[in-house]
Symmetry: C2
């Protein structure tokens, strides 16, 4: 079908090279329309060559509804995850058009990365890896500072003092706070030997990187994957998670199902006796969105194919103690996998 | 009705004192349930005393659906703006319960601020005003830096180097970039006499502040409301916007309609010949959300009442030249208004 409607920022950027936080994009065969409000029309008109920019009079849904009313189309594709019940009612009000739902169709469209996208994602990963190195050095100077201070320093380095965008709010979690997989920074302070979990990414021309490393504080700390902990339990848990990640990565190739990859990571952790402490999926696609198709979960039937790019990030979280997660982005190659 | 379901973070915090980005809150008469995933159960259980925390097995919607299936309720309230078409289908799948839509009912519940909320909002505004002063001083040292650098410095000051949350990503826009009401920072540099628009806010115990000021670069620049521009056109436009803001504020009292306030600001700008360059609403409520009820727009029939708190922020945007917006938060008093 060549008619579809969307409002997601990444999808819009993929379709027409522009996006803002107040938009509806409509493609009707060879024609494209970009509806926005008065705050963004200047930028939209500057950026858009192949779509007609429409400044919404009162609201965007009404403008989209009017535009669709004036066409002769019979059917249009939409993503039911994109529209609220309220918006969808307004959008299709009084229209004699069949709205065909297809979940995530705009992410699925982007699931195989083009050569250009792979290049941008590799640059994002390289930039991100460099920032991890810089942050490791910075951390050695931040003894006694709290997580909130550390968070700000991470944002400073990741964004190059505001020059580039970050993929998401970085997670910097110390000691027992690292057992919360999406911890928020607290007043907990960095001490000698503190356990450190750092999950962060940057954008390069809108494409995201995503990485997680764990280490412990000492004057020579680094974010290499091979880590040495004084504490035996930390070392044991770390090595289990690392093995889970390595085994899962080794299995990746075109033709495997996403849930089979998840199972390999999960089995390593389960066999070590920590299955119930691995409380999330093994990975997710990364591109214009930090989380997108394919999802590497227990239930995903998605067939993995060449040039999909996603994370592998098993974890073990021990409440009140610490949590370990190790995450890298990988690209599926013709007959295997490349760690980015 | 005493049964309702929600997933919005601010609404959840208002209801039970806790929120995270993966949650469904259900109140059934005297019982309350907080459904979340494995990443957040530790924090949720620590924080919640009056709601039962349920860790979702596979997904939150399925857990909510099962929970509702096991009850004997006949009807439940929901906000159709809160749920995607996809989520709503999963939520009510196979249930014999009437889902009653009520738009924004959770914001409307919070539209009149309590004494405690007023206190917190006043503290947020005071903290924000202090940060404006600090930022003005910092700007005098940042000649030749670009907007992205200025943005980062703003974030540093607003967040006290990461110690407190900000209300939204601050807008720091120079010269012609200020004509874009929601400008993103660019490589445009701060020069002698540059026009400067700064729109920013901070949070105090989760309550937001919001303020906008305009000035021009000089070694003594400040963000006072009275501003002197060398350029006559800038002065003229600035004074029109200031008059629009002052007239609108003067008219605020219990019993006036939101759209009447909007009209007063709009009339000042229209009578000065710049009506078509005022491209947004006059204001919005502020509380746990940076944008919430009441909306001070052309069409809002909302009756203004004591202890509502909202912004008044008219603007004039001249494409390719500059844009002026002046914004303050106000509280409606028993018989008038207090500028916060």
């Amino acid at each position: 079908m060549t008619n579809y409607i969307l409002k997601d920022e990444s999808a819009s950027y993929y379709e027409c090279g522009f996006s803002c936080d107040s938009q509806i994009f409509i493609r009707l065969g060879n024609e494209a329309f970009y509806i926005t409000d008065g705050r963004y029309t200047i930028e939209a008109k500057e950026a858009l060559k192949d779509a007609e920019v429409i400044e919404a009079d009162t609201n965007l849904l009404k403008s989209a509804n009017s535009l669709l009313k004036d066409t002769k189309i019979k059917e249009i594709l939409y993503d039911p995850k994109e529209w609220s019940v309220y918006e969808f009612e307004k959008l299709k009000d009084n229209l004699n058009i069949k709205f065909t739902p297809k979940e995530n169709f705009l992410q699925i469209k982007r699931i195989i990365k083009t050569d250009k996208e792979i290049e941008l994602l590799k640059k994002a990963v390289k930039l991100g890896a460099d920032r991890f190195e810089q942050y490791a050095k910075r951390l050695t100077t931040l003894l006694d500072k709290d997580e909130r201070y550390l968070y700000f320093e991470a944002y400073d380095i990741l964004s190059t003092h505001g020059e580039n965008q970050i993929s998401f709010e970085p997670i910097i979690a110390l000691d027992q706070n690292s057992a919360k997989p999406h911890a928020h920074p607290t007043s907990h302070r960095l001490k000698e030997d503190s356990f450190i979990l750092f999950d962060a990414g940057v954008k390069y021309q809108r494409y995201c990187s995503d990485r997680t490393r764990c280490t412990s504080f000492n004057p020579n700390l680094n974010f290499e994957k091979k880590q040495y902990f004084k504490n035996k339990k930390k070392q044991k848990i770390y090595d289990i998670v690392l093995k889970a990640q390595e085994e899962a990565i080794k299995a990746i190739r075109p033709g495997i199902k996403a849930k089979e990859i998840d199972k390999i990571a999960r089995d390593v952790i389960e066999n070590a006796g920590y299955g119930k402490y691995f409380v999330h999926s093994t990975g997710h696609g990364v591109g214009l969105d930090i989380h997108e198709e394919p999802y590497i979960s227990k239930t995903s039937e998605t067939l993995i194919d060449e040039n999909m790019i996603f994370t592998i990030e098993p974890g073990i979280y021990l409440e009140g103690e610490f949590g370990v997660r190790i995450e890298d982005m990988v690209r599926v190659t013709k007959d295997g996998v490349e760690v980015l």
